[in-house]
Every structure is written in C-alpha cells, then in structure tokens.
Symmetry: C2
C-alpha cells in the first residue's frame, strides 16, 4: 500500500474524495461537506471518519482545506508555478499522514488574484496531455478561473465572480422572479451570451427584468438568457485578451455552457474532464512528495 | 385650497410626502413606508392616515404606487414622453381625490427598459431650468437611471443595477468582509472608478477580494474602492455613448460620488437637487390634470 493515498478536493461547499492505489482510483465519494460545513478544529476528526471508510491511508488535501477557514492556512506559491513548486510548498499537518497543498497567488502592478484547488487541475490537465503545454484553460464555477500556461507551468490567471453573482441574483435580487426556470444550452442562452459580450452587465441585467415586466421574452427563457448574459460577459474579455482556443475543465453541465458561449463568440473550445485532470495532478504531486 | 394637494414620491423602500399649497411646499415628511411595507389593498387606508395629518387634500401618487405591487398598475407611456403625456395617462383611482402617474417604457430592437418615478424628476428638472433642454441626466440609486432629453421631452434612457448589486455584495457575498467600512469620496474611491472603467466587473470584484486576502490594500479602503468599481463600471459606458456633460439628480451623498466619478473619467457633472426637480414636476403635472 506504499503507493496508496486519499486525495481530497475540498472546496468551500463541496468535497470530493478519491482513494488512489498505485495511481488508480479505487473509490470515489462526493458530498456537500465543504470547509464551511466543518467546525474550526474539526478537520482532524473529519479525516479520522474518512479513514474509517477508506483505510488508514495518508491524505493529500487540496483546496480550501488549506485556507484560513480550513485546517491550517498554507502559503500561496506565486506564479509561475509548476507541480514541483506546489509539492515543495505543501505542508504536512500530521507527519507522514496528512499534507495540504498551497494555493497560488498573482501579484502584479495590475492587480492581485488567488486560487486554491484549481491549480492542481490546470497543471494536472497539461501533465496528463488533456490540454497541450502553453494552452489557455478555464474552470467555470462559483469563481470562474482563467489560466494561461507557458510549457507546463501556470504563469497567469484571472478570476471572475460569475457563478457567485448568478446565485446572488437568483436568491436575493429583483431578478429572482425572472430566474425561476432551469438553465438550458438553447437559443435564449445564445442570445444572452451575445448581449453579455456587447453590453455592460449592470444595464443588461436590468434590461432582462424590464423584458420580463413588458412580456417581450418568454418567462421560461429568463434563467437561460441571464445565465448567458453573465457567461458572455465573462468569456468575451478573455477571448479578446489572448488565444481564442480554450480548454474548459468542468462539470459537464456548466462546462457545456462555457463551451457553447466560447463558440458563439467566435472562439474554439475543448471540454476536458476535470476529475481526470485532478487525479493526474495529485498523482504527480504525491510522487514528488513521497 | 383649490391649488393644494399632497404629492407622494412612493418608492419600493422609501416614501416622501409633500403638502403643496399654491405651488409651494408647506410640509414634508419622509419615512421608510415604501410600497413593500404596505399590505396589498392597504393603500387606501394609508392615504386616509396621511390625510388626517395633512388635511383632506387630493393626492398625486408617483412611482411604485402605480406598479403591480402598489395600489393599481398604471400603464407605461412609451418614449418620447413629456409631462403633458404623463398627465394625460394618469389614472384617477378615487375620482377627484387620488391620481397615480404612469411609468415610462422604452422598447426598441436593442432592448427594453422601464422607470416609475424618476421620469417626474427628469422632466421636472428641465421644466424648472435646473437642467437645460436636450441635456443628459442621471439619477443614481438602487437602479441608476440615465436619461437623454430632446428639448423638454424624455427620449431615451438606460437603467443600471448599480446600487442593488452593491447591496447584494455587501449583504450576501464573499466580498461582505471587504465591505465593512463607510464609502468615502477619497483616493480609494477614485482608484476604484478608474479600475471599474478599465476592467470587466466580474473580474475586478474578485480582484478586490484577492487584494484583501493578500493585504495589498488597506482594509479600511475596501468599501470605497468597491463602490468606485461599481460606479466607474456604470459611468464609463455612459460617457462613451453620448455627451459627457451630465446633470446628476440625487441625494447629496450618492450624488457627489457620481459627480466625482464622472469627473475622474473626464466628463463634466452638475449636481441638481432631486427634491426641487420632483416638486417642479408634480406642480406642472397637477396643473395639466386639474
């Protein structure tokens, strides 16, 4: 069992655990026990519970478990960052038993940015050949990350609050009554993408409400259209800023919306399985650390 | 008392009442009894209470009291719209005693927009000479309205969800801990305005959080900076779209932030007292209606 470990992609609101034996995933579980659902100082107990299910294996924790709100804050590694850089900066919070990976930060005269977790998938995707060296990648979600590689190193990235803003609008805003349906990858979504690329978000969002009040768009199209507005407003400046060929890492549902939006705005998009990218990343990290 | 009436600027969350006698305001009150705080079917009782305080005068209700959520939905008048058009479309919900003004709508191939209440202030400002005929005006708030006049008619407008988005971020988002202080018209605000004009909002908002995590901006500057981001992102496309000379109708606090943002981005701004604009508007409406 020397090559066996448990890798955890521990986000703010979700968690994915993988038991990995000699490089292969032999068990997977996913739940909603993100770091916010674990009491401070509760992570050691939580890992004990996991080990009762999966065996007394060492654990590699990735993502928000290494944040101020997680088990222990790990340092950020500045860009450019490779998997080897991440492995070297990992923190063993229990000797030989539990390690947490660092986050990645960007600090330039133009601004600041951070990520915790996505870096393993970006670097893993390139290491495994799921995306070519030097490519541009995107990982949609609550905070959508856009990354640029040079060779197999992560050299630049930007975060957009796209998913968080959609949830805020759906739960708490005057647009809530417009956003009652499901989001589909349909013509209303495409129209929203084009409008989102063309207009400033503050006004296009209100226009979506006005269209609802004036009955100029079918009510069932509201959620798809507004999702398109937000994703179009996210994708458009990224296609302007560099190569228009993007490797999208994500859940199939949200991933397909981004692929579609990139295509609608004239770019080329490839959907990459984010789980495979994560496994490739943690296997290589673990190899450098043990 | 033939020329006397009570004018109410009845918004979603606030209300301002003015007793007007022969064109002059003789009493003013302001409270938080917006339409959402009044039960459906409760508006008649609420007006009875007001009349006990101010006398058995006729009432002119402006704003959200004429919406679906108010006493009765009044029609929208399409642009171009004059004060006379509004007076003609007003609805007497109690004969000779209570009238509600219409809202204004915009429907073009480029999109839809609506307003309820701001039109009286825009048209009143021009009618009273507080802003010149043909000017561009802006009314900041939960939903910031940008209006263009041709002569003394309202011909075009756009709404930005600026204030609502700021409140959503402050109350419900991951940026809440960045937005704890007060907003000041200071250098952090100016820096936010410039960044908001230059970058897309979805990414600049997350960068504000990253700067907070990495301690690259004083924590006390967070609220001013993010307010600047939002207002800069609102103002910039408007200055690109037409004349850069803007008449800002608003509360002194928020009004001054918009004036400053317009100046930072190279425009010319004039602060107009929105109360005076409203009084000018309702006096002229009342003259056409009685």
């Amino acid at each position: 069992m020397n090559g066996s470990f448990i890798a955890i992609d521990w986000g703010t609101t979700n968690r994915r655990c993988y038991r990995i034996e000699d490089g292969r995933v032999t068990h997977t579980e996913r739940d909603e026990l993100g770091v916010l659902a674990v009491p401070l100082n509760g992570f050691q107990n939580e890992l004990a519970r996991l080990r009762r299910r999966h065996g007394e294996l060492p654990v590699l924790g990735v993502g928000m478990i290494g944040s101020k709100r997680g088990w222990q804050e790990t340092p950020y590694v500045g860009v450019p960052a490779s998997l080897l850089d991440l492995a070297r900066a990992a923190v063993w919070v229990e000797p030989r038993m539990t390690a947490l990976t660092p986050g990645v930060s960007l600090l330039t005269s133009d601004g600041a940015d951070v990520m915790r977790g996505e870096e393993v998938q970006f670097l893993g995707a390139v290491a495994a050949g799921l995306a070519p060296p030097g490519s541009r990648l995107c990982q949609p979600g609550t905070h959508c990350k856009w990354a640029s590689m040079e060779g197999d190193r992560l050299v630049n990235f930007t975060t957009a609050m796209t998913g968080e803003l959609y949830n805020l609008l759906r739960q708490h805003s005057l647009l809530a009554e417009v956003l009652v349906g499901a989001v589909a990858c349909d013509s209303a979504f495409n129209a929203g993408v084009e409008e989102g690329a063309r207009k400033t978000l503050l006004t296009s969002l209100f226009a979506a409400r006005a269209a609802w009040l004036l009955n100029t768009r079918p009510a069932a199209d509201g959620a798809s259209y507004v999702s398109g507005l937000l994703i179009g407003s996210d994708v458009h400046p990224q296609l302007q800023a560099g190569s228009d060929e993007i490797y999208v890492l994500g859940e199939p549902g949200l991933g397909k919306l981004y692929v579609k939006a990139i295509q609608v705005l004239g770019g080329r998009a490839h959907l990459v399985d984010s789980g495979s990218a994560f496994i490739a990343g943690v296997n290589r990290l673990w190899g450098c650390m043990t």
